[in-house]
């Protein structure tokens, strides 16, 4: 099927709507992993802090990939 022209524009808002929950969910997952590792190894609060930072970083990296990498790929197409 030939690609319709307006489908290109669709991508902007489609990805914009993802951003909010992506950061929240990654941070939550990081916090969860940290909490359970601490619970298991009895090292409160080391892993909680480390994995919360990892989670936040993961959220921002997803955001970066969304905004920069996908856009560059689109431009080069």
């Amino acid at each position: 099927m030939p690609k319709l022209k307006h489908e290109e524009h669709h991508h902007g808002h489609q990805w914009g709507l993802r951003v909010g929950t992506d950061i929240v969910a990654s941070t939550m997952i990081g916090l969860g992993i940290g909490y359970f590792l601490d619970h298991w190894l009895d090292t409160r609060p080391i892993f909680l802090i480390v994995f919360a930072a990892f989670g936040l970083a993961a959220g921002f990296i997803t955001l970066y990939q969304l905004m920069v990498v996908d856009l560059q790929k689109k431009k080069s197409d």
């Binding site: 099927m1 489609q14 709507l17 969910a25 997952i29 990892f54 993961a58 959220g59």
Partner: protein
């Protein structure tokens, strides 16, 4: 409309206790409204396509538009094998859409405002995509967590980050649908209670806003079903392509 607060209509009420071994399969308002949603979709689609014609009538046109919309999005996002996933994605789309829309009937319950429902859908898609990736790529499955072109020194940092962003996928999927539906209905409830409580000469303002909010909710019902399906496609596509 009950005046008992904006959270009252999210309460799960169990109509009939049912247990199958360790499984709790009680019939609650969530399951009843999911059945209603499925019935609405099956009935309306089969009525629309009852007598298919070459030149489609209004109902057939609507059903075909819905189908081609989902099919096009699926083929656009799953690059080589999109054809095979169209039935799954169409089912997913119509189910979520019907669940969202059924909840907009005044007095009805929204199944998608329960994290258990959206979570089950999201985890199902996630487990399927992860299994597919493992089936296709074997142990190279884990290569996806090692991003290319990253210096070796940074790997201990990057691997947990990639792992977390992979694990966050079902959570975002479930959370987005749940949060949007819950927030929208909560706002509707607050506006309606505000309208009832206002003095008579001011009632038009919040009650007018409920009408606007209702229209907004209908758009959101579509957009959320669409996003859920598109992201499921992206995750499945991610599992199919080589890393």
């Amino acid at each position: 409309m009950d005046m008992s607060g904006p959270l009252e209509h999210f309460r799960v009420v169990i109509y009939h206790e049912l247990h199958l071994g360790p499984l709790d399969i009680s019939i609650s308002n969530t399951s009843v409204y999911m059945w209603i949603a499925v019935a609405v979709i099956v009935l309306s689609l089969s009525l629309m396509m009852k007598r298919p014609q070459l030149i489609p009538g209004l109902g057939q046109l609507l059903a075909e538009m819905l189908y081609t919309f989902v099919a096009r999005q699926t083929k656009l996002n799953i690059h080589n094998e999109g054809e095979r996933y169209v039935p799954l994605m169409f089912t997913l789309f119509t189910f979520i859409l019907a669940c969202n829309l059924v909840g907009l009937i005044p007095g009805a319950f929204t199944p998608t405002s329960q994290l258990a429902v959206t979570g089950t859908l999201a985890v199902g898609i996630f487990v399927y995509a992860a299994g597919l990736r493992f089936y296709r790529h074997g142990w190279r499955f884990f290569h996806a967590f090692v991003p290319r072109g990253v210096p070796k020194l940074l790997l201990p940092l990057m691997v947990p980050i990639e792992l977390i962003s992979f694990l966050a996928r079902p959570v975002t999927l479930a959370l987005r649908l749940f949060a949007n539906m819950t927030a929208g209905h909560m706002a509707l409830g607050v506006l309606a209670v505000l309208g009832m409580a206002a003095p008579w000469f001011m009632q038009w303002l919040p009650l007018g806003f409920t009408v606007v909010q209702m229209a907004l909710e209908m758009i959101i019902a579509f957009i959320q079903a669409y996003i859920f399906v598109v992201l499921s496609c992206v995750y499945i596509d991610d599992a199919l392509v080589d890393h």
